[in-house]
Amino acid sequence: MFADAWTYLLSHPTQFYRALGVHVALSASALLIAALICIPAGIAVARKDKLSLAVVNAANVGRTLPSLAVLALVMPILGTGFAPALFALTLIALPPIVTHTIVGMRGVDADAVDAAIGMGMTRAALLWRVELPMAMPVIFAGLRTAAVQIISGAVLAAFIGGGGLGDFITAGIAMMAVPQLLVGAIPVALLALGTDFLFGALQRRMTPQGLRAS
């Protein structure tokens, strides 16, 4: 069975690499865009109690929406293809990143912040030298969660013509061709696991030494 899959892969290299490329492009772009929106927004909102609560609640609702439903809802409005899929995936990534950013920023030790302001740090210095470094582990955990969710969602993008490794899986299921199916499923599983592992390693690296659990 695996041998068949491998043969299939070898005989369809361009399709595979294109699908892989699209999948990675979709995922990476969605993550980047979502991060660029949510991290600054989260930082801006974190200090305001009521607003933080509202945003986190909204994000929690957003988090419960099934990914495929989000992709499907985008389709009648934006059509099929790469761009609509990217839009939907970015939406899916927004809740985890924004909640982690807010929670991370609000979780920064209040005494450290008081001492910093009392010593005469400007708001900007406070943010860059104290709050962000201390919030980074939590924010990064959010990015990690979002990354895995996006890769998983990108598989479903195949359903709205977004391309990616999901194409192999859907085609394989439709035609009951197991080798084709595996050519999609195995690489994407490896991609997801690999990304999770990579982000995990990065997270450890990015945790300032002083904050690591001894």
Binding site: L65, V155, F159, I173, L181, L182, A192
Partner: protein, 207 residues
């Protein structure tokens, strides 16, 4: 809108299928997780191993997992349920184990001092006190399971996903809207309902 009004029995059937599959999967996952969670709660190494394995299962993309199972169990509900159980294990086991661990040591000490044996302590002290966290885990799992069930429609498992897939295939926006929005509504209401339960349980147990 009109389509919905004309076809609401079908929608209801799909909804019912969806709930049935989700509930079955959740029940099985919960039963397994409860056992594993209780056993692993205070055994560090076992807990670590269990978390790693279930974490792996959780990270694999849904559709890929369903696809993997096709050569083994074919299409249909069984496939979907196995996938959902695998997905939910990590969260549920973690909730059960963490919930048990967080029961304050002095309460357990008092219980033991009163002459309760381990089984009684688990049943009458640890599990009840761990309930809020367990329900929190159930909440996340329930939402996850509902989400997976949508995709599982593609492997003939039934449920609201069928509406979505049919709608996409036949370019029928009304079906897509109905399917997508109903499952979103289902997801959000289940989440909120369990959130309420979680909060009520937490208040009762506040020290």
């Amino acid at each position: 809108m009109n389509w919905l009004l004309r076809n609401w029995p079908d929608v209801l059937v799909s909804l019912w299928e969806h709930i049935a599959i989700s509930l079955t999967a959740l029940a099985i996952a919960f039963a397994i997780s409860l056992v594993i969670g209780i056993v692993a709660a205070r055994r560090e190494k076992l807990y670590g191993t269990v978390m790693t394995i279930s974490g792996l299962l959780y990270t694999i993309p849904t559709l890929a997992f369903l696809a993997f199972l096709i050569p083994l169990v074919g299409l249909g509900r069984a496939n979907a349920i196995i996938t959902m159980v695998a997905f939910s294990l990590m969260i549920l086991i973690r909730s059960v184990a963490t919930g048990i661990r967080e029961v304050p040591a002095d309460i357990i000490d008092a219980a033991r001092g009163m002459g309760m044996n381990p089984a009684q302590i688990m049943r009458r002290i640890e599990l009840p006190l761990a309930l809020p966290l367990i329900v929190a885990g159930l909440r996340v799992s329930a939402v996850t399971v509902i989400s997976v069930t949508v995709v599982a429609a593609y492997v003939n498992a039934g449920g609201l996903g069928t509406l979505i897939f049919n709608g996409i295939a036949s370019d029928h926006p009304a079906k897509i809207w109905t399917g997508a929005l109903s499952v979103c509504l289902l997801s959000v209401s289940v989440d909120m309902g369990l959130a309420l339960l979680e909060r009520r349980l937490k208040n009762r147990r506040a020290a």
